[in-house]
Each structure stands twice: as C-alpha cells, then as structure tokens.
Subunit: 294 residues, 4 copies
C-alpha cells in the first residue's frame, strides 16, 4: 500500500514504523529513528534522513544491515525464509527459476563471499540482468574488504531507495527508474509503422535469451507502454525483434521469398539502469537504421 | 580441369566427350551430339547447343535425364554411389551432414515424389539453403505432373550450366554466379573500419544457424574476397555479425560495459541466387544503418 | 479577446454577435443566426451551426460572402481598407512586403479572376507559402465556374474556422493547426546534441529564401517550441539549417578545415498544412540522416 | 604531349630539356640538371632528382624560382604575359573571370605580399577553391619570412609535380590527384537509382555557388565518371544536388505537391585535395542519409 508524504508526516509514529520498517531488511530501527525527524518537505529528504540514521548507527548495528540480508538465490530464498520484498525482487530477476547448475554456482559464490567478507553478497538485483549479476558477483568477490564494505552498504541503500519509492509518493520523488522504449517509422510510406510485432529479449548467454516484453506498435508507431519502465532497466545485452516482413505483407507489398528484411533484430547493451534508452527502427523494405535516441 | 573454348573447338571429339560427358548426369550423348556442332564462338553458344541436343532427343532418352539423377540426400548419395559432381554439390549444401531425423524426412519426401511423378526430385542444390530446399521440395511435391516435368528439366539445365561454367572458359561465359559482400564504415571517424571481425551465418531454423564465412575487414573496410562469390548465393535467410565493440575498444574508445553496440547483427534474406547482394554496415558507437547496396 | 464556450452559451446575443461577427468577413448575419441555436456542447458544434447558417442562406446572401472578401495583395489591402483579420493574415503571408513586380502580378491575376468569375480570388492565406499562393492562384484561374464557386466557399470556411479557433476555447476544438519540429541527435557521443543553432527558411524561389524561425537545441536536442506550431504550416518548400560544425568545434573535436560537415541543410516540402512534420537530424561528424518522423 | 618514361630515358638531352623545361616556371636549368642523371626506374625518381636539383642550386638561382612566378590573377596574367601552364591553371580556378572588385582585392594582396617578402605569392591553385585561395592568401601574408620561404618552395614543388604527372607516364606515377564521387541508392525499391540528375556546385560565398559538374546516374546508381577526378579536389565547401523528386515521379510514384523530398542537397567540405571523397545518397521518398564513404 502506498502512502502520501503528507499523511506520513502526521500519522502516529507506530504506523510510520510499520509502513517503512521493511525498507531496510530486518532493520525497523532505521524507520524508527527517521520517524522522529518528521515532517519532511520532499521524499528525497525522507530518504536522506534514513541514510543519516544508518550513518549515525553504531558499527555493530550497521553491520547487522549487511548480515541481515538474504543470500542471492540462496537456500533461505528457495525455502521462502526471506523478506517478502526480497522474494519478489529475486523472482523478478528470475533467480527462482535457475537450473540446478546455476543454483550450485550461486551457492559456491555465496559461500566463498561469506567466508571472505563475513556477510552475504548484497546487490540491488533489480538493476542487473542475470549475466551481469554473475559478472558483478565474480568481480566483487575479488575486491578488497574495505571496497566490499562500501559496495555492500551502497547496494543496501539502492535497494532501500527503490522500496521507499514504491511506498511513498509526493514532492521530490526518488529517481530510481529508467526507461527502454522504441518506435518504428516507415520511410517508404512516410508514416509511423502501425501493427508491427515487437519483442524484447534479454541475452543471458550465447545460447540463452529470455523474452521480457512482447507487444505491437500503435498508430503512432510507438508501443502503448515503454518496453521497460517505472523500474531500473537491468544491466544487460538485449535484442529487439520487429516483424517488419509481416508488416510489409499486411500492407500489400509484393516481397521476394524470403524477403530481404523479415524479422529485423537490433542488439544493444544497457549499462545505466536509470537511463533513458530509446531505440527506434527507421526502415524501408530494403534498409534500416537505429541509434540511441532520447 | 578447365578447358579453353578455343582448344575445345579443335580437340579430338573423343576428348571433348570425355571432358563434357558429365555435364548432364549419366548422359554423355548430349556432349556427343554437341561436339558435332563445333566450333562455338561463345560458351553461351556451346550451352545453347547442349540445350538443343536435349530438346531434340526422343522422349525416352529425355526421360533418362530425369530418372538418371540421384535422389537428394538419398541412400545412393550416402553410400557414395552417385556421380562425383553430385557428391560434391550435395556435400556443399550440407546434405551429407544431416541428422537421422532429417535424412528420414528426405527419404519420405523422395519416396512420395518418385511414387507421384516416376522420377526423382531434381533441384539445383547450389541455389538453395537447407531450409529453402525442404520448402521447395514440399511445394513441388504438391505440383501438377506437367509443371513438375518442366521444373525438373529446368533444374537439370541449371545444374548443367553450373558444371559447364566450371569446365569451359572463354568469351560469353554463362551467368551462373551471384555475390554476397559487405563493408564497414566508421562515421565517427569518417574512415573505413579496418580489422572488424565479420561472420556470415545461414539461418537454417529458429534454433540452427550455420556459419558459412568468417573473415575481417581490410584497410578499405571491405573483405578481401566476397563472403559468397563465384557461385550462386543459396536462397536462405542470413545473419551478418560484426565485432563492432571490439573494433571500438581496439581504437581506444572508452565504452560503457556492456557497450551500447557490441556484436551488431544484420538479418536479411536472399531470394535471387544470381543477384548481387552488398550489405554494408555504416556505424558509429551509438547507431548504425544498413541497406541493400550494389 | 478569447471566449470560453460556456460563457458564450449564456452571454447576451448582442455580445455573441459582436464577438463572432467578424468570423465571416462582412457577414455578421452568420453569427446572428448561429447565436439563436445555442447552447453548444463543443466548439465543433458551434462551427457546424455556422456552416449550416451559410448553407441555409439565400443565394444572393451566400454570394456576398464571396464578393465581400478583399482581394489578395490588392489595392484595398495596401490602402488598409480591409478587415483587421485580413490585414493580419495577408501580412503574415508577407503580402504586405511584395516587390512592385509582385504587386503587379497579383493585380493582373486579381483582375483576370474577377473578370472571369465575378468575385475576388479567395484563399486561406495562412495555409500557403508565397510560391504556393501564386501557383494556386494561376491553377484556380484556369478552373471551371462551378469548381471555383465550390473552392471559394471552401476557402471561406477554412478562414472562418481559423478565426473561430482563435476566438473560442472549450471542448471539441477545431483542428486548424499543424506542426513543424526537429531535433538533433549526436550518434558519435550517443547524446542529444545541445546548443546547435537551427534556422528554418521558406524557399520562395530559386533565388529567394525567407528565414521564418531561428533558435537553438536544448539539453534534449529539441527546440523549446516547435519551429511552426499553433497554426497551419504554410504549403511550401523549406530548408532547415543546422550549425553542426560549430557544435562539434564547441565540443572540442579536432576537425579539418573546412570540416566535412559544417552547416548541414535539409530541404523538404510541406503539402499538408494541418499535418505533423517532425524532421530530425541524426548526425556524426562524417555522416547524417533525416526522415519524416512523427 | 605526354612522354613514356622509357622514351624519356633514352631521348636526346635537348628533347628532354625541351619536354620538361616548363615544369619549373622560367627554370629550364632544373630539367637540364635532371636530364644528366637519367635513366630513372620510376617517375617518382625523376621527380626526386628534380627536387634535388633545386635543393643543390645556389641561393640566387633558387630565389629566381620564386621571383620568376607570375602573380595570382595579376596584371601579367590578365595581359596573357605568363607561361601557358599558368594561364591554364589560373583559368581553371576561375581567376580569369573575377569581378573588378575581386581583381582589386588580389592586386592589393599581391602588392602587400611582394612588398613584405620580395617575391610573388605562390600557391598551387589547382588545390584550392576560390574562397580557400583568398583565405590562404590572407593567412600566409601574416606569416613569418622564414615560414613563407618554405611555403613558397613547397608550392612550387606541388605545381611542378602536377605538371610532371601530366607530362610523363610510367611506373611509380606521382600521387597528385584526388577523387570526388557519389552514387544514389533507392531503399524503397532496393535498387540503384538510375537517371537521377546530379549537380555539384562549389560554394564560393554565402551568395555565390558555381556549378562544377552536371551529370546523371547510370544503371548502377553511379555517375559514369567521378564528379572530380584525375586532378586534386579543390579545397572548398561543396553542394551536391540530386533530382530525387523527378526520379520518383518518373518511377510513377504518387507524390504530394510539393513532395517531401524534391531536390535533395548535401553540403560538405573537402580539406584534403589528394583524398578520396565518396558522398552517396541513400534515399526513399521520405528520408535519406549520407556519409563520407570510401
């Protein structure tokens, strides 16, 4: 359930702690401390206060912020013994549908990481595709203790920001979302291309691609909703697939068999989850172009 | 061994029949009849004479031209009991490396076709990719007897033309070859892109792609040789893959990870095996275009 | 002064007639008749009522709608003896700044037209560039009496629609405006190009071009306002000019002298004044592309 | 008249001196000295020998190489009192068709330059457009005496190289020529665009453009000959103009009036006279692209 900042400013403290207690996993004390500093003019200020509450906490308590976090694709997760938000976030990243081999890989990494740093590997899963997750895991496992402590706390804050943004609305909202969108222009007719089937796949590996969106262009040549929006765009390689041949056939064009352009694929990478990625297809039956638009 | 038309015009008839006897499978009589009409000013005239020899032959003999042909991916082929040229042609089309299921599929089609028309399915395999071969086979199996007789003889002539073009050089050469080529332009630096890894794959099905060429661009942004040349370009869907990200990294550009453009893929179809298909990549680190060039 | 439809529905009839009297030149009787049919749910309904009032009027009165119109760039116009709206409209089209030769040309056309059809040449000047105006004038002068009567009345309604749209706001507004816009993308940096000088010129003839807008791209690579908007886009040939070389120099790029791309010009035509014309520039220092976008 | 290097190697010295005497203006002694060093394996070696003859000459004689040169668009030139080659070169650059004002401007620059440096302004006119010529003149007038001495001798050698390349053919030819070419691709039909009118103009100033080539595309979408070839491409800003609208009309397309694309213009600059500039137009009726190709 979502709160309006104004309501939150005046609600009984107990309700506020109940509402925001889960923003930091197993650490309601952050919400508790923050609630004493109300009212807040902007959501950003509310989050800043939470950050400060964390920074002001004694070392032991700060450390519980890390140790309290569930492992990635870990046994508790599989057994459902982790916080509801974590379950949802890991599921959204497909971590609940891993092969046995992948689970084993994560188990090894988790064990190695905990042995090395004394707390579980923490990452904001919503900002990563599966390949990026493993790349990041391996890279951070090789980092220094000091760097990892910093990385872990930074990720805890990223996770908290996204959870808070979903809970509280109002002025000065947190920028935790990016956008991935497309549109199709028909340069042979000079019109937006309507009714083109569009598919977005995340390229997990040379042999695995997962379709993450399937839709069709509207009269304006755009999709009614962004392909990915209202959340970070996971760091990953993607492939956009357009049914251009079917579009031209439907328009009554006389195409050779096979047509020169049938399913057009655009491969591109996303490195900035909070960025705007507009990847258009400007096409005729015999040529096309794309670019990172705005 | 390749003959010059002039030599052929003056050589002993026996040698000519020996040289051209295999142009029409198991039908040296075509070379025999043709040799009596020498000299020929152009290779085209020589082939025209062969065509006329076929047209002038009695029905029974013409029919042997069809019945004498080996089945596609058939038992004789697998047992090596077919003409050397046929072995090479079927191998080039990958018909010697089919899965058991595919062999079975061909066996069924061959049997059905022979039962229906009384002669084996004949097609100029050099003009087809594997998917197109099966599509064509299924389509022709559904044709009328009259149409199939015409189709089969037309394919016999196509096969003969390609064999003859490989055997005899000189004026008025036969047009039996197409070309598939590419080049890469770097619009950020205004120079041809040198050292870009290029791969051409034939898309056999949604799950199978076979790499048919692997090379690198030269100082002119082109490949030293066409990706496919000196032969028909098999009717098929293709994917060109360019190592653009590696090219930019090698040039010292500072790219995000993953880069927006890493391996760029261009999918296109070839419907005219004797056509010229120039498919360039005009690219910067943040956009690209392609088109059917000349 | 602009009216809200609601107010208009309930205002004293005299005020309404005063407000809308000039929508049809020298014909307050249209507003008079229309005002009796209030209230109107939508502006479109109000205009429909005006159209019907015209259609219902006796022939003599309908004809005054045409005869009452001022000549294009005619003597009365130059002497300021025409309705305020007409003065503004003709001035906006540059008809108050014609050379003597051009005035003479219009005088001849006006005289010939009036002699042939018995009423002045009427056209919605806001929908035409100067070249189109003369082309249209010459073409219509060659038309049949019946066709011209229809054309003239259609133009009277177009003029009225634009005037009404400017006078009355509310639900169901009339579609009398088009839009001409652009944006600039930098495919070498993958960002919108900010600070690019943009100029839009109307190509009047091989030797004359009139700058109609001069601006600069913002952080989103767009112009803060459309180059032409809130009105019909005059039918004409246009040239967009972009200071791309200066943009690259400002970005610190090391360009040759002269640079390959300095002032980039895009020439295009507008044939549909109520249409949306988005004409982007997607450019690197060594190449660019444009297309009719949406 | 053109010589073959072999002939030149064995011809009587007097003939050689007669043939090459004018390569260095009013300095047959260079050819004289060079002729003694025959035979030459490559044209480059011949030119190297000429360069060395100049370098080995006493200061007084070297200076005559500069003082002997005619002024640019100077009185002697206008009076025809300069070497035939110089007349042709200056005419090709349009220096014989200057306005009185332009002649005056050159007279002032010539006088100022000679007063400052003691020898006339020398530049290889074939490498410059008119605007570049004046820009260069003004810039060099501001240079140091030492730099100008170097510049002047470098230009004398450039002029000599071009003259020699025209006189002597054979192995190791001198690279004194660049190339400017184009081609037109129709991405709506997937074919080269045949019969497109192409015009190349040199942009001399904001108000003056001089057409330097006028032709039409052939069946391959190219022009039969490069727009500029076999000589340096003058340093200048250019505009290519393509009759795309007429091409589409001729193809029977139903275009709006005016069409979105009618005469397409591409503006670009040439900074490297010996470079290859391929500037294609890849177009459909509603969009186009260009880039510096190879």
């Amino acid at each position: 359930m979502s709160w309006d900042l104004g309501t939150l400013n005046t609600a009984p403290r107990a309700d506020v702690v109940a509402a925001l207690g889960a923003v930091f996993e197993h650490a309601p004390w952050v919400a508790e401390a923050t609630s004493r500093r109300r009212p807040f003019a902007r959501v950003e200020d509310l989050f800043a206060a939470m950050r400060e509450a964390v920074a002001a906490a004694p070392e032991a308590q700060r450390r519980t912020l890390l140790t309290g976090h569930p492992e990635l694709a870990g046994r508790e997760a599989r057994a459902g013994r982790i916080a509801a938000d974590s379950i949802a976030e890991q599921a959204a990243a497909g971590l609940d549908r891993l092969s046995e081999a992948e689970f084993a890989r994560f188990d090894d990494l988790n064990a190695a990481y905990r042995a090395r740093f004394g707390f579980p590997f923490i990452v904001c899963v919503k900002r990563h595709g599966r390949a990026s997750l493993l790349r990041t895991f391996a890279a951070r496992l090789a980092g220094t203790e000091e760097a990892e402590r910093r990385n872990a706390e930074a990720e805890v804050l990223r996770i908290a920001a996204i959870r808070l943004a979903a809970l509280v609305s109002g002025e000065g909202a947190l920028r935790t979302a990016g956008r991935l969108s497309t549109h199709v222009l028909d340069t042979a007719s000079g019109r937006p291309a309507e009714g083109v089937a569009v598919e977005l796949a995340e390229i997990v590996s040379a042999t695995e691609a997962v379709v993450v969106a399937r839709t069709e262009t509207n009269a304006d040549g755009r999709t009614d909703a962004p392909l990915i929006g209202g959340r970070p765009v996971p760091i990953a390689a993607y492939e956009l697939r357009f049914g251009l041949g079917d579009y031209h056939r439907a328009a009554g064009l006389d195409l050779p068999e096979p047509p020169f352009l049938d399913v057009v694929t655009l491969r591109f990478g996303v490195a900035d989850p909070e960025g705007q990625y507009h990847v258009p297809l400007v096409a005729s039956p015999w040529g096309y172009q794309t670019y990172r638009g705005s």
